[in-house]
Amino acid sequence: MAALSPAAPATVRRPRRRRHLPLWHAFWILAAAAYFIVPIISLVQFSFGGRVDGHSAGFHWYATVFADPNFASSFWLSVQIALETVALSIALLVPTAFWIHLRLPRLRPVMDFVSVLPFVVPPIVLIVGLIPFLQPFTFIYSRPEVLDFIYVVFAMPFLYRSLDAGLRAINLQTLAEASANCGASTWSTLIRVVVPNLRSAIIGGSFLTVAIAMGEFTISSLLSFNTFPVYIFNIGQSTSNEAAALAVISLLLTWALMIALYVVGRGGRTTAQMAATR
């Protein structure tokens, strides 16, 4: 009698499945990439464009930028304001977020709402409201440090939300109680236990704060401070190729910050690792 099932071949070759990217998927990915990349390519191209003394400009516009003393002064002014804003934001928001999570959890929805207000209210409205408030403080109003106080408001959504997510990821109540049980005061708990465990959140929020402070134009322009974005704008009014070179430098600096954020974030222990100890 014949076998009911055929004998299996000695070797079975699996058909190789080719992975095709559907045409529409490829289209949307390319379209999205083009949307972001084409302007950057154009910018870079433009920063090398034009002719100087009958020759191709090459790095001329970059050299001009670096030779201009206003470049360094405006850049360092922006860096200084950014770092001060970060320090002020951390000093203000880390204890606030800690207290709200630990002692006043009912205020969390209120803080969530308040923290998005700077997104909702246009900068011009904020500055119109802030100027009459700040004007009486003449010792600060005429100095660029006044921008620190204003940028803290703009940076709040980023830093606060980053801290909020970080605090939710750790078992704050138990850690704080364990620390108190070991004899630590609340401040000691904040400095020795909570802040180290919020490292990623603080660093993430800080870099976003730096990015905001380094790129803000409207307010510094209105208050007549020659920050880096104002400097770029003023250069763009006269020499567009030089402005393009400045914009490229600005982009590179921003990317350097992002890479630093990535490297520092990887260097520290992640929130997921910390959550795994719960």
């Binding site: 620390s179 020795r192 100890t277």
Partner: protein, 365 residues
Amino acid sequence: MARVELRGLHKTFGGGTVALDRLELDVASGELVSLLGPSGCGKTTALRIVAGFETPDAGEVLVDGVDVLGLPASRRNMGMVFQSYSLFPNMTAKANVAYPLRIRRRPKAEREARAVELLDLVGLARQVDRYPHQLSGGQQQRVALARALAHEPAVLLLDEPLSALDAKVRVQLREEVRRIQLELGITTIYVTHDQEEALSISDRVAVLAEGRVEQIGTPAEIYNRPRTPFVASFVGTVNQIDAVVVSPAEGAVRCGERVLVVDGDLSGHAQGADVGLYLRPEDVVLVTDEPEGTPGASGTSGASGTSGASGKVRSITFLGPVTRVGVDCELGALVADVASDVALGLGIGDPVTVVVEPGRMRTLV
């Protein structure tokens, strides 16, 4: 070592929930007392008040006769192990254990030596440099125990420290907790809802219900001589049999057609009053109706002078060394714990005779 007294502790949470209802408790120096009870009975609230994480509405917490309620948690000199893992994720096991000493500004060499010594005590001498996420749950709780002991606290508080661990680790670790407690002689309050845990490691067990101590006593007293129906039913399994008082003076009750003399005080009951009789499953003896000369299911037969009631096997549940047999008999629906090898011969519906020593039956308040 310190003596701890809770005097009239009262605590009401929002919504009017009474967590503690004038709780009274004495813990002698060097003693391990377990607070045992179901969820919501107030045991954790009591512990958190002692630790300083909750404030009572009324009452006192005395440590060596001094009320500590006015002190913040950080100044009460108590060590606590929490239910959820509470190690600081940014610190190694050694740094975690050394933390209380770091706070007290002890020299680095001293705190490191102490941390290593304590980690050795809890069996983690080789894991001193590991971070919490590199340790198992059981190891994390050992480190937490070592940390709680680092600053030589007057009182050790344990809030269901083993509840997140698997069964085998739990048994292992509770024995270690007891060993270390006895070794150091530290006054300890241990909160748990696991009766086996409480009975196995405690000098005394306080059974809590609705914010009050229902009964406090040695594990044997709690198990063998429960004073209230709640304690009888919460600690271990219990059979309840309805009866009517025949003679309060003689301790005689009528149960169905039988008159039994039971263990317990019936002086508070009037003749003819309904009472509940309580009986542990291991005190119920089953005798199979087999030909003379053949051993019965429980290995006994014809126990004269006891209450033999005929019945039928309703259920059989294998529990390892013993098998729990449910029986419907004249006394009601009972369960009996029978040696598993003996219970092999039993089947659902088999006729059996239930034999109970009346002296093992208790009436409760």
